[in-house]
Each structure stands twice: as C-alpha cells, then as structure tokens.
Symmetry: C2
Subunit: 198 residues, 2 copies
C-alpha cells in the first residue's frame, strides 16, 4: 500500500489478531487515525501495559492485578469446593451463570500429548497443595467436553483419588433448546446414557 | 466481568472499534494476553504513536510521515493532472489499480449541508493554489458516486470553471460482472445513459 509506514505497521500487526483479515486491519487502522488522538493514545497505552498489569493469582491461576484474584480474596466464597477450569474465559462464563459459590483452579492447559503437553505441565502440585490449608473436600471438574478436556478430567480424578475428596464432572448432554434431529451422535449418546429418573 | 481492570479497560476500548462487539473485544483482549508480551508491547506502541507519526501531506492531503507524501515526492508522477478523492483510502484503491500516473488532492470531506459541512470546509483554496506552480491542466474528480460525492464534484467543477482546466468525472455504470437483474435502478439508468459507441 502507498500509505505511510505507521499505517502499514499497524495494519500488519492488527491482521495477526484472530478473525481480522488484511482489509479489516487496514479499515481499523484508518478508523483509529480518524478518531480524536486521545482514543489511540489510551488504547495503545492499555495494550502496551497489558502484560505488566495482568498477573496470575498465586493461589488459583485466575488473572488479577495483585497477588490474589478477587474471587480468592472474597471471604464470602466457600473454601471447601474447587471448580477446575481450563481457561480464565471458562471461569468468567461460570461466574456469569452465578451458580457456583466456591473457588476455582485454572489449569491454563489441557493434556495434549501430541502437542507435547503432559501431566507435568498441569498445575496439579499447586492444586494438591491447596487441599489441606483450604480444607478442600469437593472438586467439580469443568474442563471442556473435548478429548483433551475429558482426558484431563480423568487424569485429575486419578491424582486426587485416595485423598477422600468428592470429585464430580459437569454434565454432558443436549444443550438448552437443542433439537435431537440436529444433535451430533456423541452428544445425543451422552444425553441418553446420562438420563435421570423423574 | 470478574476479570482484572486491565482486561476490562482493553475490552471496553476495543468494543468501540467498528464491527467489533463486546464478545469479540473480550476475545481479542484475551488473545493479546495469551501471546508473547512482545506483540502487545509493539502493537500498543504503534497505536499510541499513530497520530504523532502520521501527518497530512502539505501539498495534497495524503497521509505521510514527512512534509510531503511519497506520491508528491515522486518525480515520475505527472504534475499536470490531479485526481480529486474524498479519502486516503480511495487514493490507495486507485493506486492498487495503477492506472493513474498523476498526483492527487485529498478532500478528507464531502459537501454535506445537513451535517454542517459546507464549501468552506473543503480544501479548495489549497487546490487552487496548486494550479499555477504545478501547471495543472486537468482534474479527474473521483469522489464517490453518492449524493455528497456528486454534489462535491459539481461544486468543484463550478469553482475551476473559467480557469481553462479540463475536468472529468469517473464513469458511473454497471460494475464488472454485475447482473442487470440485480442492479439498482439508479446504477442501471446511469449505465444506460452513459452508453458508448462501439
């Protein structure tokens, strides 16, 4: 493009974001330039400082800006129940639902042998070290219902077996409003196997 | 959301970009945090410096990082022919086509009385001041084929009338590959009126 280097650089960097192609990246770069300078100044500052400001909670792995996250610092959250999630985004989805009042443990990874992610890459030592001081008596494993998520859930179940902790797995079945006709066979099979007495 | 302030701020700022909703903004914020820190550091720096680096060419209004843009500085570009465009994006689209070898004049605005944009808001003094020193003998008006673009084209034609300059307007008609069946009536009417002898 015939434009100045700054616009070219910005377009190239924005095009590396997921779901943003070259044309969209260029449109966004021109849009930023067309806004009052304060917007780009603030956006640039927040992006540049992102990694310095956001850390992982020393207890559960959630993102935070201090040593502990807001959930771990909240005395109203139940200490004896931990919900294990793969990503902070999953934690936030559960918080939006508002059904869980315990604490979390964020893995940030799932077992994926083909990608070189083995058991040692999961923060399970940190999990085990929480059991006694926090009086953990129940684990709810909310990793995704994918191959990696299921393998990770099984592995964690093995690790905490013999510690007298109740372990459960979030339910798998038909989504709300789901039509049986269009469900994939695995989902429908799980919904059938997991039927509950009424 | 339960996340740290930095992610919330970033999500809020990104959601102000065109075509980016709140969920996409949050996804982008998490993506930036998940990348090596160098990416966000560079992206933030380039965005924050955007307005300081990018200026308008003192001659034609194109974006540039020095006093004159690359096109105005290029001695191979013909000085006697100016193409008038509304936006730098339009200039770049014409450059991609590569058919025009003259120079440009970027208006950055179109006549829009209802939005308070009148003739005095167009850089037409700057245009007139280019005529003699650059030996301008031809104007090609490539403002968009919208109401505002057409009104602006007509106004500029009036302004330069009596100066002995050839003025032309880019052609209006059916786009390449366009089906007559699906063309809007204005486009089809213009294509018909503008027919050329074969």
């Amino acid at each position: 493009m015939a434009g100045p280097d700054a616009l070219q650089e910005l377009g190239g960097l924005l095009a590396r974001l997921p779901g943003i192609g070259e044309r969209t990246a260029q449109r966004l770069a021109f849009h930023m330039l067309g806004q009052p300078p304060g917007y780009a100044a603030e956006l640039g500052r927040v992006i540049a400082q992102l990694h310095a400001r956001v850390q992982r909670c020393g207890r559960c792995g959630n993102f935070c800006e201090g040593p502990l996250c807001r959930i771990c610092e909240d005395p109203r959250r139940e200490a004896g129940v931990l919900c294990i999630v793969a990503r902070v985004q999953d934690l936030m989805a559960l918080e939006r639902v508002g059904a869980f009042r315990g604490r979390y443990h964020v893995l940030h990874k799932l077992l994926a042998p083909l990608e070189g992610v083995g058991p040692m890459d999961l923060p399970l030592d940190a999990l085990l070290q929480r059991i006694e001081p926090e009086g953990v008596r129940e684990l709810i494993i909310a990793t995704p219902l994918s191959v990696e998520g299921e393998a990770t859930a099984l592995y964690i179940t093995e690790v905490v077996r013999s510690r007298g902790i109740a372990v459960s797995r979030i339910a798998s079945g038909m989504p709300h409003g789901g039509e049986l006709e269009y469900a994939d066979p695995i989902t429908l099979g799980r919904a059938f196997d997991g039927r509950r007495a009424l």
